[in-house]
Symmetry: D2
Subunit: 262 residues, 4 copies
């Protein structure tokens, strides 16, 4: 079996220096348990709640930073794409292209991403059932690319609230693709702070443990050295100095799940 991998990083790129510092601290946190990680950061937050919110470095500068991180740290890189035209350039730098949840039904984006041949991490829309994702994956498969990850990040549950339905993990795994659990966005409270989304950081480790016990191939956990002053997703990111302990805990549940009961 493969131990659970980690997709992690700051929500958005702030600067080359910041990305370097984060990658270094993440590498340290993962080294203790030999946990493989994919460095994740967004060059553009294209769907913020409010227009006034910070959007990031932009594609060109962002991809340059991500490329440097990959060279310096030797880790695979994940970023999210928002438009078919972004897929080819992002695919030249990144190992994994991520389809945002709101965009998971946009056929042209899925096709353009698939054509890069990169791994495609598709976030399940908050408005979709787990079983609907087979049709979403099929759009990528039609390009000849079967390197697909399916990612649970919460489902709409009334207003301004998401719920994690853990039955969805085995349901999506049965489609033949590795499943990722996004513990950061699953505890988001969309629109919960009016002009921005709130979050319940304290529940991210709780749900991540549950996901490991259920069984997943990777966890998606955003982190920051000072979440409360991060430009986005602060309320639900884990402080980076807590990551080593959290990873160690999650690895234990993952080991138990995969060694003993598979």
């Amino acid at each position: 079996h493969h131990p659970v991998a980690l997709i992690t990083g700051p929500c958005q790129l702030e600067s080359l220096d910041h990305a370097r510092m984060m990658a270094e601290r993440i590498a340290e946190a993962c080294a203790l348990t030999g946990t493989r990680f994919v460095f994740k950061a967004s060059y553009d937050k294209a769907n913020r709640s409010s227009l006034d919110a910070t959007r990031g470095l932009g594609m060109e500068e962002g991809l340059r930073v991500l490329d440097l991180i990959r060279s310096e740290f030797g880790c695979p890189i994940l970023t999210d794409v928002h438009d078919p035209s972004q897929c080819a350039p992002a695919g030249e730098v990144c190992d994994v292209l991520q389809i945002p949840a709101f965009l998971c039904r946009q056929t042209d984006l899925l096709l353009a991403a698939g054509r890069t041949g990169r791994v495609i991490n598709i976030k399940k829309g908050q408005f979709l059932a787990p079983w609907d994702m087979s049709h979403v994956a099929a759009k990528v498969v039609s390009t000849g690319n079967e390197n697909i990850l399916l990612c649970e990040r919460g489902t709409s549950f009334g207003y301004n609230t998401l719920v994690s339905d853990f039955r969805g993990l085995p349901t999506m795994e049965a489609m033949g693709y590795p499943v990722v659990f996004d513990a950061t966005h699953s505890v988001q409270q969309p629109g919960g702070q009016g002009a921005s989304s709130g979050g319940q950081r304290q529940f991210a480790p709780v749900l991540a443990r549950a996901a490991c016990a259920v069984g997943v191939s990777a966890l998606f956990i955003e982190t920051h050295q000072d979440p409360d002053s991060a430009p986005s997703d602060g309320p639900n990111m884990i402080p980076v100095d807590q990551m080593a302990g959290l990873i160690s805990e999650l690895r234990a549940f993952d080991d138990l799940r995969k060694k003993a009961f598979r």
Copy 2:
């Protein structure tokens, strides 16, 4: 007061001849009650459930057809845009640009649409609360364009089901924008037929009556001469030969609402 207007047409453009035939039949159905209508059709269905589903005529040919319909019938035209690059060309032909529900948080699309100066009909995402729409509208307003319609089209309610929360109509109206009720997509059953969405056509008139009693500026009702063989949204479109009767009924509820109790 202004009587309720109708946004109507076939879900997707099939051909010039088909669009002409539909526009003619719609014009007849509306003439009896003097109901103003906006002709709606999509040149591209960019987010079908399945890759195998028909997508439409494409932007160039589609806009040509829509331009001809506008010239021949003298009616305003609405189409939906899926990408910032589509807004300028669509805005040259169409009076109303529509932001699809899944895309209602995509900042660049909202800005590009707003910059055309056209009326922007923003569908409320199935994953958003009505009060979240003020931040969505503000993105368009930032371009100097306040010609905004806010459109209710159902909210996620468990899996493969939408529910219409009629408290949302006055909540959005209080933001200062005319409110549209989309009776066609509110009775959609997303993913309800596996590779395509199902629908409950029988409830579209029911919910449209409710919306008129609550109070709306416009109704969005897709129609087709033979819904069961339409390339998309067949299960929830109204047969065009029932439109005149339905419009007459809805106008009566709208009149009562606006004349007597406003």
Copy 3:
């Protein structure tokens, strides 16, 4: 056709004098439009959010008061029952016995209520689909009593929120029973004030209008001379001095629905 009837009264019995005053004011409000009303009040609030909340006069004293109201005002009486043993005594006084939503699956309560031969108003549980109510009604029918009303009062929608699905009204009507729309509890926010439920009084008339346009046999609207100081359901009751105007408005929508489009 039968014009829409009204089930109305204060949420809970406070005293004989209060019940008399309310019945008098309700009779006046209904007289203007010739609207038939059923006087509703509870002798016991058996499922308050918090133990500290007022429960009411108790069954014996409560039924005595209700009996006097019936004699003095000549109006039918509705009260809710919470236990099989309450059905026979309540049935001797009241014309309609109401099954609370939380209790709509309790077989013995339904059977005991049915056996009184009175009209049974069954509130659809917040946890049930409209189509599940046919099995609920069948329990009452098994007693030989087919005098059943099915009442929509909101469905669970995330936490502390209800939503009114107006597709449920024709769905339940198709079972062959008159359908009631409870506008008061449909705008309740269960647990929304911590130790008690909140409410959105301003939406009760909105949803009641919608229900009339959809088509119902009766409306359930609780009222009070001073809702903000009422011992229960204050946040969602209508001030009694607004009832005449509201009834007149709702009757107009009901007339339109039943005269013109049935």
Copy 4:
């Protein structure tokens, strides 16, 4: 720390011989891991979907059977009560009285149960938020009885579907009461088979693992020698011959949670 305990047994009492056989097989399944169990069976299924469904042995005979099981097997006994009058007699025989989810707001039932001094297992209503349970528990506490368990058994999520929100477990634990996760009813599909509820047995172990990783004091798992022919809850009960393996797996996750990360 205390290892996770098990509340288990057949959904409903079928006969003394059946209860004996089940208790024996459960005792064997638990002995391997030294897992403490509470024998659970209902003497009356008071809220079946349909009137035609089997209800059980009745209170008098049922309590006699449960008393014998306790004597013979030396295990604590849990049964559910549906009416204040049932609490005293049930409390003479049983160690734990269970408040059904639909009835968790019925004040008199909670008070009567509390007054027995027994442990009270309160199932969270499908219509309640986890934080609403503090007011429910307070009703029992008012009787001087603080032996309370709070039990998660799924929350309404659209129609005919429940979802397990694992954030609810730590939320309820923070109220100071041991938390139980009911894996059997959390995978129920209420009304999912028309006249009876369906279920997704395959997900019960999945959610039970998740609950152990999150952290619980007890698991509630119904079992039967032949679930598909059981008189109730067949679609979601675990075959008794799979219980030993399941318990062993769940104990491992529980141990990891409580030893390593508490």
